[in-house]
């Protein structure tokens, strides 16, 4: 089994990769002896341009994929691996416009995923909405949790609205919610939390999964007022490249809140770096 998988590890976490596919395979919390099979990959939804049922296209105001099944960007990823005393990194190359670095910093209780997506190819004439999807075996019973503005956590239930009887017509878009700083799923014991570095849309389309939208490039106006498609200028080489970070926390349900609250706050109010030439005497606030 050793050659089928290999891992990066620090004092708190172990991240296992599938040697055949190059994809994440499992995350272990070494402190709490938790092991969660987890795969993560990038997909794209083919943006609707309207259909017989409804002329509504996907656009700046409206997210509406034309099918519930997204497409894989790649079955697997080419990898290379950097192992040092301060950080261990695995570089995953999915395509020439989608890549990710999985990082474990020495002593840090979270996994950092730095994703880089774009320019999104549109030569095929299809608008695309790119997601990063995590799949686990957690029994979530259709529930997942998102925050509103980094404060109140809201329980989301798939295909449900608390204040009216929903007849779901959009199985994917109808279950997407704002994710301003974090989204998580949990079963009775274990919680998987993903922190974002910006506001994104996200959901849990099937049990045990969660996904976040990281980039969009659309070819049709959604006729809701902007008057143009969500289509940055430029061709394949010069479109928008977006880079961001997702932090993964895996812990017991009881301990997760303290972990993600402090870490999300620190992400939001991150230390500021100011540089200055020259050596100069070190300064200390004391």
């Amino acid at each position: 089994t050793e050659h089928l998988s290999w891992a990066i590890e620090n004092q708190h976490l172990r991240v296992v990769f599938d040697s055949r596919t190059g994809l994440l395979k499992e995350i272990e919390n070494l402190d709490k002896n938790i092991s969660l099979p987890l795969s993560q990959n990038f997909f794209w939804y083919n943006a609707s341009i309207g259909n017989q049922e409804n002329s509504q296209a996907s656009g700046a105001y409206i997210f509406r994929p034309n099918t519930s099944e997204p497409f894989l960007i790649a079955q697997g990823a080419h990898l290379y691996h950097v192992k040092t005393g301060v950080v261990q990194e695995v570089y995953q190359n999915f395509s020439d416009w989608c890549s990710q670095v999985v990082r474990l910093y020495d002593g840090q209780p979270y996994v950092e995923l730095e994703w880089t997506v774009g320019p999104i190819p549109i030569r095929d004439g299809l608008g695309k909405e790119i997601i990063s999807r995590f799949e686990t075996n957690l029994q979530t019973d259709g529930l997942f949790y998102t925050d509103s503005n980094g404060r109140e956590i809201l329980e989301r239930r798939r295909n449900y609205r608390a204040t009216w009887n929903l007849s779901q017509t959009e199985p994917v878009a109808g279950n997407y919610y704002p994710v301003n700083s974090r989204i998580y799923i949990k079963d009775k014991k274990v919680q998987l939390t993903v922190l974002t570095d910006r506001s994104q849309g996200g959901s849990s389309i099937f049990d045990g999964s969660l996904e976040l939208m990281v980039h969009r490039r659309l070819l049709h106006d959604d006729a809701r007022g902007v008057g143009e498609p969500l289509l940055e200028p430029g061709d394949y080489l010069n479109g928008l490249v977006v880079r961001g970070r997702h932090l993964i926390l895996l812990d017991t349900v009881e301990s997760s809140a303290e972990q993600h609250r402090l870490r999300a706050q620190q992400e939001y109010m991150a230390p500021q770096l100011v540089l200055a030439p020259g050596g100069g005497p070190p300064y200390h606030p004391g």
Partner: protein, 179 residues
């Protein structure tokens, strides 16, 4: 001579839902970003003034806003430089710092004169593709900094004479995966 009103005004305008959610024409969205960027530039002077008064000397403070794609003229070229880490939270924090450099070995001193462990890692091909001609750093200097509550800490960094490329030490290509 600057104040934060430029950024305040830009933030005021950006309260519109179009700025928050991107539901505007591309050139309008570009303008929101441009106004916020101008506000940020003005605030850099405000922060420099504040740091100068706190530190007690007038330094040539420099802000590198593209560290996420490994671009920073100062760290790429300088033999010695300082990194001031300011923590806006009311509790001590640790933070992983990655700086684009062209050396392969560095010494980092924390304010109390301790040597800080650091590593030099090659800039990835992903980052080079994104960065294009905006920078030419070959490596990234990675270390963990800490900063006190609502305080700052200064790290002094100096490049050591190179003893062989970092690449051979850090990089291990795995056998290629099927596409």
């Amino acid at each position: 001579n600057a104040n934060s009103s430029v950024l305040r005004q830009a933030m005021g305008v950006a309260q519109h839902h179009d700025a928050v959610s991107g539901t505007a024409k591309q050139h309008v969205t570009n303008d929101y970003a441009k106004q916020l960027s101008a506000g940020w530039d003005a605030c850099q002077i405000v922060i420099s003034n504040a740091l100068a008064s706190i530190v007690g000397t007038k330094e040539n403070f420099i802000y590198c806003t593209q560290l996420n794609i490994s671009v920073c003229q100062l760290t790429e070229a300088a033999q010695t430089f300082m990194v001031i880490v300011y923590n806006p939270l009311a509790r001590p924090v640790g933070w992983n710092i990655r700086l684009p450099v062209n050396g392969s070995h560095y010494a980092i001193l924390s304010p109390d004169g301790q040597t800080v462990p650091n590593e030099v890692i090659p800039v990835s091909s992903f980052t080079r593709a994104v960065r294009r001609d905006r920078g030419d750093a070959v490596n990234e200097l990675v270390f963990q900094a800490s900063a006190p509550p609502l305080g700052y800490r200064t790290y002094s960094i100096s490049r050591l004479p190179g003893r062989g490329p970092a690449r051979s030490r850090a990089l291990k290509r795995l056998h290629d995966q099927p596409g």
